[in-house]
Symmetry: C2
Subunit: 384 residues, 2 copies
Amino acid sequence: LEKIVISDLKLGILGGGQLGKMLALAASSWDVKTYILDEGEDMPAAKVCYEFRQGNFKDYETAYDFGKNLDLLTVEIESVNIEALEALEQQGLRVYPSSAVLKIIQDKGLQNEFLASNGFPKSKFSLYESKDAVLRALNAGEIKLPFVQKLRRFGYDGRGVKVIREKKDLEHLFEEPSLVEECVNISKEISVMAARNERGEVVVYPPVEMVFNPKANLLEYLFCPAALEPSLSNEAENLAKRIIEKLGLVGVLAVELFLDHDNRLWVNELAPRPHNSGHHTIESCITSQYEQHLRGIFNFPLGSTKLKMPSVMVNLLGEAGYQGPVRYEGLTECMAIEGVKIHIYGKKETRPFRKMGHVTILDHDLARAKAKAQNVLKKLKVVA
Amino acid sequence: LEKIVISDLKLGILGGGQLGKMLALAASSWDVKTYILDEGEDMPAAKVCYEFRQGNFKDYETAYDFGKNLDLLTVEIESVNIEALEALEQQGLRVYPSSAVLKIIQDKGLQNEFLASNGFPKSKFSLYESKDAVLRALNAGEIKLPFVQKLRRFGYDGRGVKVIREKKDLEHLFEEPSLVEECVNISKEISVMAARNERGEVVVYPPVEMVFNPKANLLEYLFCPAALEPSLSNEAENLAKRIIEKLGLVGVLAVELFLDHDNRLWVNELAPRPHNSGHHTIESCITSQYEQHLRGIFNFPLGSTKLKMPSVMVNLLGEAGYQGPVRYEGLTECMAIEGVKIHIYGKKETRPFRKMGHVTILDHDLARAKAKAQNVLKKLKVVA
């Protein structure tokens, strides 16, 4: 850090959304200079980074050109141009997470194969080139209903995942290359954030528990610490630790898990970057996931992941039925609730279910924090 | 907030030092657009605010011109051009803290008269136009040694204050208009941060205790909560509450207090803005002093001031004997200590005792936090 602060080291970030913004804010507290590449000039991170460049990080030339004058490159999203990263790495640029790790995680087929072949608990899956191939496998009895179909690439924020429960759902199958997974009999959804630096030090955060709205199939809120027996909590943490080590990932990794009704843990999926399920760490933990990511990629000592206070996090999503210049209702009303911390990302346009911000609710009593979260969900509306 | 976020409301801040920077970072979490005026292009806040303008906020034309297109104006320093603020207020601009409050606090003579005339505990003082006038008063027996001489204006960061213990110190007396105060028999130095919004809601933070290095007469560290009996702690909080109400200040106010050996509290001085003694609130309290200041000036509900975790704060000062492009020693070593949170302001040049950053140390055990702070003080050096 002593050298980075004074040497004008250039840290590049591919992606200038909310994760890039919060990463840039964390970097600013250390006076680390951030260079961000993303398309819109109005991106959330554009005004808080040191230098913002407009361009598409999925494009080889653009990503390569952006990276070639930097000292270190990271991402806030995994769907970046891998070939550009490989070329940059070959020229000696430090890229964390590495192109090799991103390549595995970017493709859910490879990601699942990585998990299964290394003995991590992953429900049975197979890969298919097309909708027809899935149907053939079903007819041949190789897979059976119900199952989950996931696009191999470019799924994001719940897009690219379909639960196929019965025959009539089959018409909705994705056409593109996909994987089909056996359904887990889910009791709880858990997420564990892990971090690792270049020299191999690893830390994990207390597991968080995600609560879904059964009707909308949308995350309603998540809370930390998860309501798990200590042995299960330890098991979840160890799983995350072993996965980040096996991947050799540098930076933070979100490990999303299912707990089934027999108290077994299954890996759902991985995200090799700061993650929605780690937003609460900003206020709730000694080291935020953003600072931790920086510690990891700069090969600094990792920070304490201890809880300062339990918390609940709710996403501020664009209301269904509204599209256009954003308007918020109920923000100041919610600010009056003790322990409510509001984050507005600064996106100009809302769309149904678009992530426009989040709210973290701190309370020593988690039950009370959950009640406050319900109150926030009722009062806060993102409309147009 | 709902309106501010979408209306491109322009929040101006006079001053782009570390306090302006941390205020801009807090504003960014709400997507509030900050416009900052200060002289150097390399100021700490220049890259994190929405728009930075170079200019001198002590100059009438510059400050007026900067303010006239804004919607709300605040300060990170009190030595701004008051006449410009008055002119802007007359045109309907909301300025918080107001020019009237700044006028009182900017001049330590008026500040002391405000405190004394309103019955706040202030040690006996008198005002003088010159060094000669002080000497005449001493010869006439109107004041006696030892005493404290303070410049009426533009004292900052301990500059502008002299303790005159004995006759030979008299040659060092300031020539400029000053006040002379009776020495308090100091047992402890305490600071209490208060906040108030436009509609008159008031909150106070837990008192912090400042520990000085007796040799260097410099703040060594401060810790929160202060080691005070509950009755004294309450008394300090009430004092801060009554002062902010009497001033009618909108925003945050730091109230620095002395505790004497008879357990009496005396007001030392006031700062009408985020303050060094409130840095720890970023990590240690539910609402940071920066977010609280924004809540106050926007007339939002004020935030909880509860402690999340006890903490110790140490300033990162330029080492004596070094001047020039800054270099840091021991930052990463200190990062390895659990609970150490590093803030580097981003000033390019160090000077002896210049505030270059600060470190907050979180620990549930305050004694252990203090030991860690000593360790940080030993390891961390700001040199050139």
